[in-house]
Symmetry: C2
Subunit: 256 residues, 2 copies
């Protein structure tokens, strides 16, 4: 049974793309058939996976407007063993085009029904907004993974995000649930980070992943090589943390 | 002559809001009459300036849809001496409502003509997207300040941003120009940051502000107190850097 995760947080720069790419790579080496969907017109997950976004014959844009299937548009991330449904700036056009479509929120979900038997796990990297692209991601998914930088503005935005997830569950996708919150760029010496982490623990309890992603420069360097950190510097703290996360995620799926 | 700056970069988390709030406070103590416009439904510049976004009688949303003037909706940031045109989640609705309006890109610009004599400087904090809200900011402005985290994904997005600015200048606002690029969260020990900074120097030359904002935890702590860093910890490296930036900005305006 294919599991679909939306990786989302409208707060910018909290590690959505970094989590999506590194988790995809870590799950692939654990013999999962993984599809990473880039739902951000920035196309960071696409280039972070080593795919040239300026030369895409087909992209997620064509899938959303019904001109291509997922399997025609997906490409393999070289050397990483997972598939990517790529994106580029063209995707920004879909936001406006979707507004007038019937069932506009279901476009991605419907496209994914055709590949139920092709992947074990689908990860959707969402843009930093609560817009029609993110809603498509939340309707296509059954689980939400929320990357959280432990700082004030990110904490402030969490209630808007939780509200949006509740609304999508109520009106569009009853099976949607928050699978977990992931602490990213975490610096344990930083008092603010500890205070915010304590609040997350208090409000979300067991939904907080045990795995914490530390601030680690290797995670910021790897994208310029078009690779996940495990293929750039496998023994780095950043790469190892995402390997731990993959294990934790698979354990949760195995024993819900 | 009122000068309007758009503070924008569609890459998330690069320091747009932090720059807008701290620059506004630093310019205010230099006897400038400053208006900070929060154009992001996240409302971070609003709360970062000590204003409760859940109790806004009027906001930038009402201004954009023509139901209120700037002067009725603006409030003063307590103790900081600058005015804020506040935002909250309601603003997300304007994006859709603007799509069908005639002159939709000019809504903010037209609203600002009524207060030409009330402010010396207007700073517009844009959301992490190249959407109708950001376009309104770029049409209302004559200058663009681009906060830049010196990392790969932020560098990758710069060409899309420059293209968008060129298109707005060509079709909607001939006076729009890039005033400068601001290096934010800069850690000089980080080789990646140095490499990216060298590329910025090469491509943008004198448009790169001399002032560099260091990574400084006080800048991340201040928003939880609803204050700019200069009112939270005036001697911190972050607060001092934004004071330097205010000087540099005023020098550039004085001798173009
Ligand atoms: N744990 C980490 N340690 C150090 N750097 C990191 C870490 N995670 C992410 N980064 C870097 O921080 C920046 C922001 O991360 P990323 O782009 O993944 O966030 P995002 O939430 O996807 O941003 P956006 O909102 O623009 O989509 C990137 O330059 C990335 O390389
Ligand atoms: N120079 C700095 N040193 C340390 N932390 C910083 C610095 N500048 C910003 N921050 C922190 O980094 C995070 C991102 O900054 P900020 O929210 O200002 O970026 P943004 O570009 O406005 O994000 P968004 O794309 O979501 O609007 C915030 O938690 C902020 O407090
Ligand atoms: Mg991203
Ligand atoms: Mg912001």
């Amino acid at each position: 049974m294919m599991k679909v995760f939306a990786i989302t947080n409208q707060k910018g720069g909290v590690g959505k793309t970094t989590s999506a790419v590194n988790l995809a790579a870590s799950l692939a080496v654990r013999h999962q058939r993984v599809l990473l969907i880039d739902l951000d017109p920035q196309g960071n997950a696409t280039t972070g996976s080593g795919i040239d976004k300026s030369r895409l014959p087909r992209s997620v844009y064509h899938v959303l407007i019904g001109q291509a299937g997922v399997l025609d548009a997906a490409q393999y991330s070289p050397g990483a063993g997972y598939a990517v449904l790529p994106a580029n700036r063209e995707l920004a056009g879909a936001e406006v085009e979707l507004v007038d479509m019937p069932n506009r929120e279901f476009q991605l979900r419907r496209a994914l029904t055709a590949c139920e038997n092709d992947y074990d796990l689908v990860l959707i990297d969402c843009p930093p907004a609560l817009n029609m692209l993110t809603v498509n991601g939340l309707v296509a998914a059954s689980k939400v993974l929320i990357p959280m930088q432990c700082e004030y503005y990110a904490l402030e935005g969490l209630s808007d995000l939780v509200q949006t997830i509740k609304r999508v569950r109520h009106h569009l996708n009853p099976q949607l649930e928050i699978e977990g919150l992931l602490r990213t760029m975490f610096d344990p010496r930083n008092q603010l980070a500890q205070q915010v982490a304590a609040q997350l623990q208090h409000h979300f309890g067991a939904k907080l992943y045990r795995t914490v992603i530390p601030r680690n420069v290797r995670l910021a360097e790897a994208p310029s090589h078009g690779k996940a950190a495990m293929h750039y510097d496998a023994s780095s703290r950043g790469a190892l943390a995402y390997q731990d996360l993959a294990d934790e995620l698979l354990q949760r799926l195995a024993s819900p």
